[in-house]
């Protein structure tokens, strides 16, 4: 029988989300940007899992099921993101997001 305080988990995922947000705002390399998004996304998925694990009834199963769907969403997002990286690299010769200004007025 495992007993753990919920508060520590919330602190962990808040800190991970803050790290991911910091990475999204500062990094200029497209692949690093994707990695920062993955860190923030993992923090969000963790929330679903442990709120499910600590709640009674069918709540635990709902939390885990949402987490399964979200992991699929995140993997899809990385695949499309890397396709954009490859297209950007071919068009511009760089994967620096500061150079991708074609949609600028």
């Amino acid at each position: 029988m495992t007993a753990l305080p919920l508060v520590g988990f919330i602190g962990l995922s808040s800190a991970l989300f803050a790290i991911g947000l910091f990475g999204i705002l500062t990094r200029r390399n497209f692949i690093l940007l994707l990695i920062a998004i993955e860190i923030a996304m993992n923090a969000a998925i963790l929330n679903f899992v442990y709120f499910g694990a600590f709640s009674g009834g069918v709540g635990g199963l709902t939390g885990q099921a949402v987490a399964v769907v979200l992991i699929g969403f995140a993997a899809t997002e990385v695949a499309v993101g890397l396709a954009i990286v490859l297209a950007l690299n071919r068009l511009k010769g760089t994967i620096n997001v500061a150079q991708a200004t074609d949609l600028k007025l």
């Binding site: 753990l4 910091f22 399964v68 695949a79």
Partner: protein, 162 residues
């Protein structure tokens, strides 16, 4: 302090350290190695929370597929794999914004009970039943989204567009 709490503290410390290291290290390949450790660490937290199916899924999808995809991204976009990134400053405003977000999130923690709660265990077969009945529409949506993503990715990287 119980063994589980010690395990959680260790896993949380490793997770935070690897997340920061992945974003601050200068070789892109080292970043991907750190992020692989981060994904394995998150999967260990799922096992700690008695969610073995999610732990295995995290290992397979994140530590396996996403890491290899990112490595391919690095291999295909640069001539020398181990070339370094230009130094980017930490940036005061993004750091402040991240810290404020963290403080807001932790301030909300006061609403929750501070005591240790029991982790409930669920049989993975119950989870699969739930996924394919109540959550069926969501799984269908996920499948459609993945099909659309495959089509979109092929469209983006195809040769001879112009």
């Amino acid at each position: 302090m119980s063994v589980e709490e010690l395990a959680f503290l260790a896993l949380a410390a490793v997770g935070l350290f690897t997340a920061v290291a992945a974003l601050l290290v200068r070789e892109l390949v080292h970043t991907i190695l750190w992020i692989a450790v981060f994904f394995v660490d998150i999967s260990a937290i799922y096992f700690l929370l008695d969610a073995p199916f999610l732990g295995v899924l995290q290992l397979g999808v994140y530590a396996g597929a996403v890491t290899v995809l990112l490595l391919f991204g690095v291999m295909l976009t640069r001539k020398r794999i181990f070339s370094r990134e230009a130094v980017t400053g930490i940036g005061a405003v993004p750091l402040a914004l991240a810290v404020v977000t963290f403080i807001f999130a932790v301030a909300a923690v006061g609403e929750f009970p501070q005591s240790a709660e029991t982790v409930r265990t669920y049989d993975p077969s119950l989870l699969s039943q739930y996924l394919f009945t109540t959550f069926g529409p969501w799984l269908l949506l996920l499948g459609l989204l993945m099909m659309g993503a495959v089509a979109g990715a092929i469209y983006l990287v195809r040769e001879g567009r112009d």
